[in-house]
């Protein structure tokens, strides 16, 4: 290895990002001229902005050291992985090809931006507290709505796969690393670059298009739309790489004996999601790339007046967007079914049907996207088909619920904090799922489309489903990741506050939507006020419950530091057969692989002590 005069880390990344941004801005200014009339009347230049962001991101990645390996290979040097610093805080601020470090980076990075996006939600609810409120000007309000929606959607795709998928998939399949460590790290830094780019839109006048960014609205918006487009482009790239790495890891890195029917159900949830990501996310990248060239290179993919079509963007966006919502659901289902056997002391009921449910969702989810366009006038004669495919997806979804309920039946339930979040998942997802029925049926969809009913529905599935599973995973796996138990009493306070406040926030919005309240409005008629005021106050309590969690995390991991027992939940899966936290190489010896979710006794109702962790798994 050659000695580098300066290390490649976050600092050099940020420096080169600024340099690249300035260079792109200057270059864009040279290119831009009166011939690009689209932008000339406002004093803003899309070309300047787009090039600045493009070169800024490139500079950031070069500064982090992502160019070193390809450049060295092109110069004919022998292949070698950069030697990761295995100790010290520095490794968290650099390009580190170690799956547990990347997962921890994801955990903290996603946590930070989740808080930012959550604060935006608080601002939205503040504006909607009363019908006559005027906290924000309409353009600021829509920017806040767009920031909340985009950032949450961008983060949630990686919220389970990033921290928990990267961390536990190799551990759960008995591997010592992931298949593509460099891509794994790249996906994280791309996501961070995306989020910073999105936030920087505030300095450029924001974007008033919502997270869906429908053209031609996004074509005419101020220059702040460019960072929005870059955000989804980078998120799409990050998702593709994250999915690629996890797919390859599950396919190629399994320990001897880890056959497909012995893979823990969580890994199935991650693997099906990862495959969907690889297939769906590139379409999003293309969709926003066409938007950027429309605005800079004067193409007209989405401009009706110049031969394009607004439907093109809607199709590209939802072809990604509908698999997207299922790739938010599957990791949550994976966590649910992974954790239920531990806290019910039973094997997973119906492993095969649960797996077929996940695979079925992954397949069918690619055929449903035009149900977002039932009243758009596009291919109206095909609506029965999309109605059927949408209703068909309830069959595999039902299988996952059945597996969960079957596991609870005749169980010996223990109500530890992760279990509480799992049970809440079932309740919330039931409401989220059944309200989907009204949107799959075309006549009923005419009432609910674009209203607060839809908003409440997808918050029930994403927040009530994914985020609750996310917290279940945090309470379950933080002892493994950091070696410290989270405080149980604070955990229970957090759970009950969050569960009650969540339902109290979103349930009234179903009613508001059914009665005629459209989404993304800065003002509304007085007759919806009762639902909105109720919802806003509950939302503030929901926000407060997140604060309780944050206090718990800081208190438990930084202040009290109660060491976690080797196997605090008496689980039989592989990650608990190594130390907490695990060594960089995960396992000293690759463990013997047994049946997944091996709990319970053959003779029912016989009381038995748990087996010691080391003797399990055969």
């Amino acid at each position: 290895m050659i000695r580098r005069p300066l290390g490649f880390n976050l600092l050099t990344g940020l420096v080169l990002a600024v340099v690249g941004f300035a260079l792109g801005h200057w270059l864009g200014g040279q290119i831009d001229g009166p011939s690009l009339a689209y932008t000339s009347d406002t004093g803003e230049s899309d070309v300047e902005t787009a090039l600045a962001y493009l070169l800024g991101v490139v500079g950031f990645l070069v500064g982090l050291g992502f160019a070193n390996y390809p450049v060295a290979r092109m110069l004919g040097r022998p292949p070698s992985l950069p030697r990761p610093p295995t100790q010290g805080i520095g490794r968290y601020f650099a390009f580190t090809p170690e799956h547990k470090v990347v997962a921890t980076q994801y955990f903290v990075g996603i946590g930070f931006f989740f808080a930012v996006a959550g604060l935006n939600a608080m601002l939205i609810r503040l504006e909607l507290l009363h019908s006559s409120n005027d906290f924000f000007a309409p353009d600021h309000y829509l920017t806040i709505v767009g920031l909340h929606g985009s950032m949450m959607m961008g983060l949630m795709t990686s919220a389970v796969l990033g921290p928990f998928g990267n961390y536990f998939v190799p551990l759960l399949i008995g591997a010592r690393r992931s298949a593509f460590p460099r891509l794994e790290s790249l996906s994280f830094w791309l996501l961070m670059a995306a989020d910073v780019a999105l936030l920087s839109t505030i300095a450029l006048g924001g974007f008033q298009t919502g997270w869906t960014g429908y053209a031609p609205l996004s074509e005419q918006g101020v220059v702040g739309v460019i960072p929005y487009a870059f955000f989804f482009g980078l998120v799409g790239l990050a998702m593709t790489l994250l999915g690629l790495n996890l797919t390859a890891t599950v396919v190629t890195m399994r320990a001897p004996g880890m056959s497909w029917n012995r893979i823990p159900i969580f890994v199935w949830g991650i693997a099906t999601t990862a495959v969907m990501m690889v297939l769906a996310a590139p379409v999003l990248v293309v969709g926003v790339a066409l938007l950027i060239v429309d605005r800079t290179a004067q193409t007209s993919f989405y401009l009706t007046t110049a031969g394009g079509s607004a439907y093109l963007f809607e199709n590209l966006f939802w072809f990604f967007g509908h698999p997207e919502v299922y790739l938010l659901m599957l990791p949550g289902a994976g966590i649910l079914l992974q954790l239920l056997p531990v806290f019910t002391r039973k094997p997973l009921w119906g492993y095969r049907i649960a797996v077929s449910g996940m695979v079925g969702i992954a397949l069918v989810s690619f055929t449903v996207w035009q149900h977002h366009l039932f009243v758009s006038g596009l291919a109206a004669d095909l609506r029965p088909f999309y109605m059927l495919s949408t209703e068909l997806i309830s069959i595999p979804t039902g299988l996952i619920i059945l597996a969960a309920l079957g596991t609870l039946w005749q169980a010996r339930m223990r109500f530890e904090v992760p279990m509480l979040f799992c049970l809440a998942w079932i309740f919330n997802f039931l409401i989220g799922g059944i309200t989907g029925l009204y949107q799959s049926d075309v006549p009923s969809n005419v009432t609910t489309h674009g209203s607060f009913f839809v908003l409440a529905h997808f918050h029930y599935t994403i927040m009530g489903g994914l985020i609750f599973a996310f917290f279940a995973a945090i309470y379950y796996w933080v002892p493994k990741m950091f070696g410290y138990m989270l405080d149980e009493r604070l955990g229970r306070v957090h759970f009950w506050l969050m569960f009650l406040a969540f339902n109290s926030t979103f349930f009234p919005l179903f009613i508001a939507g059914f009665l005629g309240m459209p989404r993304r409005v800065v003002t509304y008629p007085e007759r919806f006020e009762i639902y909105n005021t109720w919802s806003s106050i509950s939302a503030f309590v929901l926000g407060f419950s997140m604060l309780v969690f944050l206090v718990n995390l800081v208190y438990s991991v930084v202040i009290s530091r109660t060491p976690a027992p080797a196997n605090p939940w008496h689980a039989t899966s592989l990650e608990w057969q190594t130390t907490s936290p695990p060594p960089p190489h995960n396992f000293d010896e690759i463990p013997e692989i047994g049946h997944p979710h091996d709990y319970g006794v053959d003779e029912p109702d016989v009381i038995r002590r748990p087996r010691p962790a080391s003797a399990e798994g055969s």
Partner: protein, 284 residues
């Protein structure tokens, strides 16, 4: 303690509770709440959607109760009570239960699909936008004709044109009672969506597209019109109120509007299914 109850009895108990609650629930939905569900009965489409919402709620009720009752039953009966860690039975699944479950799911989906498609093919197709060549036009009585009304979305208001009344363009939507209306929804700039809540009509307004939707108002009075697709900074204020009036009042209103807008008529483009305005640069 759960061990005192044989397994099969638990299941029979659960089934009895579920069946009982489901029957009560479905009867409540069908007979007690039916008339109260949105969006009301002021027009044929709205009434049709109300029927659909009722049918879906009736189908959904036993499904929701199945999960809730099973969840609650398990939470009450199958918990650990002692300090000692206790293991449950090693049951990996139940083929009969799985097959029965999937069969029920397939049956429910088949019913939903058949019902939804039948409702969609009914004349008028329950008020959703059907694109330029509608599959299910609203039916009209012998010797009667539909009233075409063009809805033009632009940032940030709707205007309405009545092609059968000399292309009259007005910012007000007034409809005669009892006559099927044929809405032609289009846009001059970005994507909007026309939602006449009490009429049960929702159709996206796309630039360059003629999106057709139908409704027959059968109740006098006002109805809400709202834009339901984010269309820029004043989207939240893009709403107005329409009126359903008697045939006589409608004719009088048309005459009055024609006189009022006569001075600007010559500046209007001729009536067309879509319009192709010059790009106006950027707004918010």
């Amino acid at each position: 303690m759960s061990s005192e109850v044989p397994r099969s009895r638990h299941f029979r108990r659960f089934l009895a509770i579920w069946l009982g609650l489901s029957i009560v629930g479905v009867l409540l939905v069908v007979f007690a709440f039916e008339g109260d569900l949105p969006p009301g009965t002021d027009a044929d489409d709205a009434a049709g959607q109300q029927v659909d919402n009722t049918v879906l709620t009736a189908i959904g009720t036993p499904i929701v109760l199945f999960v809730l009752v099973l969840l609650a039953y398990s939470l009450i009966n199958f918990r650990q009570r002692g300090e000692q860690l206790e293991d449950g039975p090693r049951v990996h699944g139940n083929r009969t239960a799985e097959i029965a479950f999937v069969t029920c799911e397939v049956a429910i989906v088949a019913v939903l699909f058949a019902y939804g498609t039948w409702r969609l093919l009914e004349p008028g197709a329950s008020g959703g936008g059907q694109g330029p060549t509608p599959l299910s036009p609203a039916s009209v009585a012998q010797g009667e004709s539909r009233l075409p009304v063009q809805v033009i979305g632009q940032q940030w208001h709707f205007t309405y044109r009545y092609p059968t009344y000399d292309g009259l363009e007005t910012p007000h939507l007034v409809l005669p009672i009892g006559r099927p209306v044929e809405f032609h929804v289009t846009s001059l700039d970005v994507v909007h969506s026309f939602w006449a809540y009490q009429l049960g009509v929702k159709a996206d307004a796309n630039p360059g597209v003629d999106n057709v939707a139908y409704a027959t108002p059968n109740d006098l009075g006002e109805f809400d019109v709202r834009c339901v697709e984010l269309c820029g900074i004043w989207h939240g204020y893009m709403f107005d109120t329409g009126r359903v009036v008697s045939e006589g009042e409608f004719t009088a209103w048309i005459g009055e509007q024609q006189r009022f807008f006569a001075p600007v008529k010559r500046y209007l483009p001729p009536y067309s299914k879509t319009y192709n305005p010059a790009p106006t640069g950027r707004a918010g």
